[in-house]
């Protein structure tokens, strides 16, 4: 255990050194991140000057949902950089070999190497947005809610990790450079809004097939105290675990099949 903690510390130090050397890049990336998040908020704010509610969600609740969505997503993005390039860099170009020869779990290496601090900004801004909009709603918030938030957001992050890792492992079987990641990424955006706006088929897919709804509107609705959502939201940790299990199975199967990048 001590070994792993030391390792994580070493990776973190290297990362910070690298970031400090290119601090202007870091600031620029941060700025872009802020702007990107702002544009989503602008959409909600502007639209709600014209309509009072969206399928029973008022403006403050929509903003709360938006804030909630950011948290598990940012947690996931903080470690996901190498998932995007998995097919291209690690399989086709063979960097996976470098990782496999080291005496540390390959998934941990991928995660640590791909760590991006600026992506975690989303956690902070998400929490702030939830706090502000929650206060405006007069939302009751105590230890139970905080614990629920922690449980739901970590589970939500696990849903993302599970689904995206599973998709990334397709690279073990195909030679595709980018794979289906962009498709999943864009479909992911559907979870930014209440799942009730979609038709039945999409609702089913978003809840039980590609369970992004469990990383977005379902837990958020529960935290907002909307009727009947808490029971459904309690499934979130199970969904997260199931997602992780799927990824683990896919990874193990893929790795078994993997026989190096060539001579």
């Amino acid at each position: 255990m001590r070994y792993y903690l030391d390792l994580i510390w070493a990776y973190a130090a290297q990362y910070l050194k690298g970031r400090a050397a290119y601090s202007s890049d870091f600031l620029a990336a941060l700025f872009s991140e802020v702007l990107s998040q702002l544009s989503s908020v602008v959409f909600v704010l502007v639209v709600f000057t014209q309509v009072p509610d969206l399928q029973g969600w008022n403006r403050a609740e929509m903003i709360f949902l938006y804030g909630y969505f950011l948290v598990p997503f940012a947690l996931f993005q903080g470690v996901a950089a190498n998932l995007w390039s998995f097919g291209d860099r690690f399989i086709i170009k063979g960097e996976l070999d470098r990782i496999l020869t080291r005496p540390v779990n390959p998934v941990l290496q991928l995660v640590l190497e791909g760590f991006e601090l600026e992506s975690l900004l989303g956690v902070v801004s998400g929490l702030i947005v939830m706090a502000v909009s929650g206060r405006g709603l007069g939302l009751h918030w105590g230890w139970v809610q905080t614990a629920a938030l922690l449980l739901f957001s970590v589970s939500g992050a696990l849903v993302y990790v599970g689904l995206y890792v599973t998709l990334a492992t397709l690279a073990f079987w195909t030679d595709s450079r980018t794979g289906l990641m962009p498709l999943l990424w864009n479909f992911n955006a559907y979870a930014r809004y209440p799942v009730s706006i979609y038709n039945r088929l999409l609702r089913l897919v978003l809840t039980w097939v590609l369970p992004f709804a469990f990383a977005g509107s379902i837990p958020a609705a529960a935290l907002l105290g909307r009727d009947g959502m808490l029971r459904l939201a309690l499934w979130t940790p199970l969904v997260g675990l199931a997602s992780l299990l799927l990824a683990w199975a896919a990874w193990t199967a893929g790795l078994r099949r993997y026989h190096g990048a060539g001579s």
């Binding site: 202007s24 890049d25 600031l27 620029a28 990336a29 700025f31 872009s32 702007l35 990107s36 544009s39 602008v42 959409f43 502007v46 639209v47 000057t49 014209q50 309509v51 969206l54 399928q55 595709s176 450079r177 980018t178 289906l180 962009p182 498709l183 864009n186 479909f187 955006a189 559907y190 809004y193 209440p194 706006i197 979609y198 038709n199 999409l202």
Partner: protein, 270 residues
């Protein structure tokens, strides 16, 4: 190295090469089309829910909004290019100096290349994407040739404006040390201010008034409205004139920037 128009065969070749490069790049355009369709879908359902029970919002009916959103993303698939990053990179790593030795105009060459890329994007992203969208969503195409014509004109302007703004952003690399962050930020800003995310008429009046004067609305808002039939007749021609005005103004700006940039390059030597 001015504008030697007798070199037009060379420029034509540049467009052709660019088109073929994209073709050979094995860009996964099936996934590209699906990505745009998924994007459109998200906004379609969102706007359906927003419009629930209301006939018009921001000057558009629900049906017009569906057309707006659909063409917004598909047109963006067409006019988008990476000229901002390309020019900035070539300035930063110095290859722009090599380009200046060549007998053709650097910026014109880049723009024509962008045109070649746009031709590819039109054929492989926009048109198939529109076909798919027609199958999945209740999109209404412009009713007659006249409307298509207006939309076509507005789109030509839209492409010019977007390319010019990209060139301006790229050229800023001559004057700033590191503008990679700026490029990403600029892309997001343009999406916000040009009407891709949502029609500019939704913004508060004070913001809308300012945005009407800026070139960005000509990139997405004007063509989208023309497509969805919400901008016709005198209103259209006024907007078109404004687009054209900005194309001219930006051309002047670019000429001036380019002159300044070349002076700088000569001075820094090496």
């Amino acid at each position: 190295m001015g504008l030697d128009l007798s070199l037009w065969p060379a420029y034509l070749e540049m467009a052709r090469v660019r088109f073929l490069t994209w073709l050979a790049y094995r860009v996964n355009y099936y996934s590209g089309i699906l990505v745009y369709t998924i994007n459109i879908g998200a906004y379609y359902f969102l706007w359906q829910a927003i419009y629930h029970g209301r006939t018009t919002l921001g000057g558009l009916t629900a049906a017009q909004m569906t057309s707006y959103v659909t063409i917004g993303w598909l047109a963006r698939a067409f006019y988008f290019n990476g000229l901002d990053r390309e020019i900035a990179d070539e300035i930063r790593d110095g290859t722009v100096a090599v380009q200046l030795i060549r007998p053709y105009n650097y910026l014109l060459g880049k723009s024509i290349g962008a045109l070649g890329e746009a031709a590819f994007r039109l054929l492989f992203f926009t048109v198939p994407g529109l076909g798919l969208a027609l199958l999945l969503f209740p999109v209404r195409l412009p009713g007659n040739a006249h409307s298509w014509g207006l939309f076509g004109l507005a789109t030509v302007m839209s492409f010019l404006l977007n390319t010019q703004i990209n060139i301006v952003t790229g050229l800023l690399a001559f004057f700033m040390l590191n503008n990679t962050g700026l490029i990403q930020a600029k892309r997001i800003l343009i999406d916000l201010l040009s009407g891709v995310f949502l029609p500019l008429s939704f913004y508060p009046i004070w913001a809308f008034r300012i945005l009407r004067w800026l070139p960005f609305q000509g990139i997405s808002y004007v063509p989208n409205l023309a497509f969805s039939g919400a901008l016709t007749g005198r209103g259209f021609w006024q907007a078109f004139a404004q687009q054209a005005g900005w194309v001219l103004a930006l051309a002047v700006l670019i000429t001036w920037m380019w002159r300044q940039a070349r002076l700088r390059l000569v001075v820094q030597g090496g």
